[in-house]
Symmetry: C2
Subunit: 199 residues, 2 copies
């Protein structure tokens, strides 16, 4: 049983977060889900709906799969040293560190993506890349796996990235089942990126 | 400005709910989002994460777009006369009533789908159809629009259904933009249903 420590901050993007949690949630026997935040009160998404917090980041010593969503609010959160500090600390010992969309800016800011391949959403690409000058940013990729760091492109790409993580941890059949049960026409090819600038 | 009254109940399915809210949320100038439930406390999804409630159903006189997700818990909620009563009442005056997955069982139970075309998810199809014996259930459909009633197939299909509603209300360009900004490879053809039993 692995714990998904899914981080929220005010203004997070709904689908970056709940798309992956839907698909991991198809295998409840393998993954538990914990909503992590700096504070205990409900955290509002950029769209409006608020999620209740299960545990603060400060009280979280370790989590197995660290999930970091994006959203317009990452523009503020990259300058939040408390949040970046918690992400840096949890990334050190997590089995998998997964980002979606501009969540990769927050992870890049910790420095752990230095020397690694990564991607991010295609509209805010250059802004994100600026936080990881030593990262080998991939402009055409649905998602990128570099060891335990798995970075997805924009919003919906987090679902395809999650299936890749499920396949790695539980096997291809488990990933295929998660997609089928969600009636999701998955993109299982990390190089298929119709949203890349040259696509 | 239209209000999306998005209903939750304990055990709702995350992506049924947040997939549509992500895409509607791309047009904040056109749609506001309100989380509706029977009770005021946070409501747990079937996957675990809990959503905070903005307003009770009892205090909701009317909403513009009534969104009803599914999830395994619909098996209990079809026998919850308070919830079904609220859905029946709000469906009467809503501009659009949209269901995802087994959310259509709840709507069928109100009787408003009698004599109308509708669909639902493909794994629980026969169970759902039993709640609407006078409904013309479509076994092969990504989503079905019959007047103001718009019913989607399983889980992810709610996103394609949402784009159809956005296209109807705001135009094709707005729907295309919502998908593109979310890097979502949309299925814009309601008859393309790779999850239908004969597909």
């Amino acid at each position: 049983m692995r714990e998904i420590g899914a981080v929220v901050f005010p203004g997070f993007e709904l689908l970056d977060y709940f798309g992956p949690l839907e698909l991991f949630g198809m295998h409840k026997d393998a993954f538990s889900q914990v909503v992590l935040a700096e504070t205990t009160g409900p955290v509002a998404s950029t769209q409006g709906p608020r999620v209740a917090v299960d545990r603060t980041l400060a009280k979280t010593e370790r989590t197995d799969i660290l999930l970091i969503p994006g959203g317009p609010a990452t523009r503020h959160e990259v300058d939040n040293p408390e949040l970046i500090g918690h992400l840096a600390r949890l990334a050190e010992t997590a089995e998998i560190v997964a980002t979606v969309c501009t969540g990769s800016a927050l992870l890049a800011k910790t420095g752990v993506l230095d020397g690694r391949r990564a991607t991010t959403n295609k509209i805010a690409f250059d802004w994100v890349a600026g936080f990881g000058p030593k990262t080998d940013w991939q402009r055409r990729a649905r998602w990128v796996e570099d060891g335990r760091y798995v970075t997805a492109s924009g919003v919906s790409a987090g679902m395809d990235m999650s299936l890749a993580v499920i396949a790695r941890l539980l096997g291809e059949e488990a990933a295929g089942n998660a997609a089928r049960w969600a009636e999701y026409e998955a993109n299982r090819d990390p190089d298929h990126d119709p949203f890349a600038p040259d696509a």
